[in-house]
Symmetry: C2
Subunit: 480 residues, 2 copies
Amino acid sequence: MDAAEFRRRGKEMVDYVADYLEKIEERPVYPDLEPGYLRSLIPTEAPLEPESYEDIIQDVERVIMPGVTHWHSPNFFAYFPAASSYPAMLADILCGAIGCIGFSWAASPACTELETVMLDWLGKMLHLPECFLAGTSGHGGGVIQGTASEATLVSLLAARCKAVRCVRAKDPKRSETEILSKLVAYTSEQAHSSVERAALIGAVMMKKVPTDSRYAVRGDMLKKMVEEDKAAGLIPFYFCATLGTTPSCAFDHITELGPLCNKENMWMHIDAAYAGSSFICPEFRPLLNGVEHADSFNFNPHKWLLVNFDCSAMWVKERTDIIGAFKMEPLYLKHENQESGLVTDYRHWQIPLGRRFRSLKMWFVFRMYGLHGLQAHIRKQVALAKEFESLVRADKRFEICAEVILGLVCFRLKGSNELNQDLLKRITKSREIHLVPCQLSGRFVLRLAICARTTESRHIHQAWRHITQLAFELLQEHPQ
Amino acid sequence: MDAAEFRRRGKEMVDYVADYLEKIEERPVYPDLEPGYLRSLIPTEAPLEPESYEDIIQDVERVIMPGVTHWHSPNFFAYFPAASSYPAMLADILCGAIGCIGFSWAASPACTELETVMLDWLGKMLHLPECFLAGTSGHGGGVIQGTASEATLVSLLAARCKAVRCVRAKDPKRSETEILSKLVAYTSEQAHSSVERAALIGAVMMKKVPTDSRYAVRGDMLKKMVEEDKAAGLIPFYFCATLGTTPSCAFDHITELGPLCNKENMWMHIDAAYAGSSFICPEFRPLLNGVEHADSFNFNPHKWLLVNFDCSAMWVKERTDIIGAFKMEPLYLKHENQESGLVTDYRHWQIPLGRRFRSLKMWFVFRMYGLHGLQAHIRKQVALAKEFESLVRADKRFEICAEVILGLVCFRLKGSNELNQDLLKRITKSREIHLVPCQLSGRFVLRLAICARTTESRHIHQAWRHITQLAFELLQEHPQ
């Protein structure tokens, strides 16, 4: 394929994409097929000679689309949103063409520098404390990670490195191995599975902190555990707070937890993967109060801020803490500017070496929407969640299971877990909408998250009519 | 921006991209600017109201392009290639539009199933032993990682988990901490910095194995170290072999190392990040002989197989080894098909949770090029390297520093390191071509890698004329 054919096929692809997104509502949101469906639809080996582009693009509808869960359908309410917008898609086309691998400043200065400035822009939108911004002389700064899981892991590894260094500074006779075996990290019992996984990867102990009746960690709960562990000779070194948990969008009390972590010399990382986008609105910004106590903070613009995956924004107060945990300097990656102080080599901030020019997406989205446009998007989706909440509350057969703060509604039929499992099975099977469950206080709960950029009030009402119809049938068959 | 405007702007972007790539040679390959250049070119904060698309796209030339290192210029010879092709770019546009986050089978079955089959296709192209393929009933299988660094880390963590389990199975009284402190991993002193970094992350000891005169690890060198370490009470558990090292494209002797690792119950991972693509050609496939002894194997189609970043292909013999090291199952990620055996949940195979629909790129590229087209690409680039090698060999002032096997030529002026450092500085400063150095046996060496898809013989000759001209000037000024 030469440039001339790319011009033609690229324009066809742009139309295909626009058609797909304009008519996505006509497709069943969740596929109706059995595991292994795809293998039989295509050859067992790659072709020896080139095939025609027509054949390939026809196979997109024949092979791929029947197996797609349509995350951008307005009837998709599962997990949390995956961001998508036209400006981000345009920027991604450009990113693919430039195709630089921005592991160091020299590998493509624009790639690194735009990222640093975009993270400052975004930090200012959130009113992050100045110490998290790079500016021209700051000690902090931001980086785009692939996912929140990686941000959590990077923060835990930085904290581990710092803790070992601190302990050995006081007591040089202790071995690294012995210190590692005593380190203990904490997170909420409601935290995302990736937090526990980070500790597993980092080979450190992690304890789950119980939550209050609103599924949030309070200061006194962590304090008690830290004191017990210290008394037992362990070394508390890290707490991962969650703002907006995955099951119910609960908020740990970082105004209580932060001062405790600071006092105990524990690294506090804040994972606000989903909720973080909302902090650009003044009315939701109080949810972030206490961030000044954190060592690192992360949220995913690729969830709720219209920047397509992957774009997970992470800030640290002391960039040397992160860089120090990873730095390796082979000759083939050295370049003459790296000691200038103005230069950031992002490979020291992350797990992978290579990285795409992802800040282009942020730049296009922030400029095409403006802060007010982004705020309008958040507010609209929160309003839709509130609308759904009021529909649920008006139906005596149902109950709301957690406070609706942002775009997630946790609800269930009053009655047994089995009843609710059965309801979800019917919803999944009918394929008109798509939800996933969670568990809260031992109860099986349905989660409805406002996901697609194009979800409107009518979709919420349709979804509710559909759910209540299935619930009606279910209750007819199995009267409580 | 609505769908109608996206249609218009998307088509403009396709033309911009085609123009950029058609005329890339006219741009200086390496930017001429000082660190911090970008911040002063754009506002310090995001706009409150939307800006016009015209303003944004004009800023691409004003702000971005002056700071881009043009990896796809035929005058770019630095690092290793970053793959780029039009079919891959088309597939990426589609990937962005579908925008699913394929962490589990249910999150988008097509995303998972196409990936499994594409890794089988690619494994067959390489003639990987059957045990690495998923097929319909295999124990092995492939996965797309973001980068080779992640593949190395994942393999090391799987090996760590397996080693701890094995030791405890024999001696349940030993604690996990104590075992961890005795584990020792090995890799070549020529291995990529990411290998050492994986051990740092995994909190295990890693030792560097010396190499022979061709910069390769031999069986007897590893054997000696393993025996000494065992005698000292350590537990050798992992060896990362490199096929095609970053400094000089050397190949560890896996036919000797593999049987040793198998005998010692050590996990052997093979990192063939760059060289792996060449194994699709029968004449280069012998370089992979011995892979049957490996537990995991990885290379980057995003380097040399025309699939745009990120696409790092990894295969394992026993997928349970990998999954076992990471598995976490919160309710919101469970789905009804996951226990069927046919289903792969790729989140258990990798560090991040989220993942893009990257196999689309492989599918488009393999079908638009065919195996023969891909082989032709590899052969052409190897021939260009050989052509450059013969130019260097014909000039008595220069020497070749390592055998030229694939697309990388290591060379230097006969003389001091300072002389060669000076030569590279002049090359970098002139911005006509771009190279990076390496260190081999204490000598400062220049690396010329054939990178861009569009590099032709004339670019090689131009590059050599340019280098010899600068060398001539240098030697005039500083006669040896």
